[in-house]
Subunit: 201 residues, 2 copies
């Protein structure tokens, strides 16, 4: 039996790693939202996750480290949801694919803006680029490039168009959130109308 | 001669107040840009402005106070420049007025982005509204409302359109600044084309 041990132990350690970091990140997210980022301690996080402090330090160095992991998870989740909505449309229906992106983006942002504000709390005006924004822009620019190639629309610059669509959507939804208009439907309708006007032949 | 004295003294104090605060704000702006916000002291500011420390404290309470005054001046300047560009167009040429706003906004932002970054250094994502942004949005929404009333275009929501136009412009210019493309002309052309598509009847 002895030769089997390392493999079994390795398997046991590989699986729980993802589960455990997942629990720690989820516990941190809940605490950041309820107590605030500054007031949350590593002790709070391990207590909420129900793990020993040593487990935390096995995977993370500091609280800031968990926040980075949470930010990455938040962005990947946003992109995956948008991609799933896009992929549910016919590959050649580029206008439907754009509307699916827009609806996915608006509803994800409205639903998760509090967590959005936690993970991007240190993103200021002078930070013009980030890995997270690049990811969103690249996804949208790819969608726009495909439609452009197929002749669905004619844009002078698909990357610039992606910024107008994403930042324009962001600005309209931010204003809605600031006035507590949290129903995504009227926002989607207005944005579909106005942003859709850019996507002409 | 004695009854004339108070009036003359009052006049002498009223005029220099604006000039002196102007000098102090300008000196602070230069230092914030060259030394950075944190490294600049009140001593640096009075030395650069060539005034006594007491003069500083006559008009301002702290360094943060000068920064607020600088931010207000920056925003008012942005708006005045945009308004001057708009007002140089015929009152009924709404498309020309929009293009004038756009060109004014793009060139002012590209020319002053370093000062922009200083005065808005603490504006983060979770800060959805500000007096400064409201001022820009109100100006643009008024332009859009006038064009809408005259039948130059037909927008489902002029305030939402103002956010798309301003935040879309901001996003495209931010990407350009991040890649050191500081010539406003190609940016204006692309933005005029794409944003102008929204302004249809």
């Amino acid at each position: 039996m002895k030769p089997e041990m390392p493999r079994a132990r390795r398997q046991r350690r590989v699986l729980p790693a993802e589960v455990r970091t997942g629990h720690l990140i989820a516990a941190a997210a809940e605490l950041f939202l309820s107590k605030g980022l500054d007031a949350t301690t590593v002790d709070d996080i391990v207590a909420r996750a129900g793990v020993a402090k040593g487990t935390f330090y096995h995977y993370f160095t500091t609280k800031a480290d968990v926040l980075l992991a949470l930010r990455a998870r938040f962005s990947q989740d946003f992109n995956s949801r948008a991609q799933a909505a896009i992929d549910a449309c016919a590959p050649d229906d580029h206008h439907a694919r754009f509307r699916a992106w827009l609806r996915g983006a608006v509803s994800a942002y409205v639903a998760n803006f509090r967590l959005h504000d936690v993970v991007f709390h240190d993103f200021t005006h002078d930070r013009r680029r980030s890995q997270e924004k690049d990811m969103v822009i690249d996804q949208l620019a790819a969608l726009l490039d495909a439609g452009q190639k197929a002749g669905a629309w004619n844009l002078p610059d698909t990357r610039a168009a992606a910024f107008i669509l994403f930042d324009g959507m962001h600005g309209v939804v931010d204003d809605a959130i600031a006035s507590a208009r949290l129903d995504p439907e009227p926002l989607c309708e207005i944005l579909e109308d106005m942003l859709g006007r850019m996507l002409i032949r």
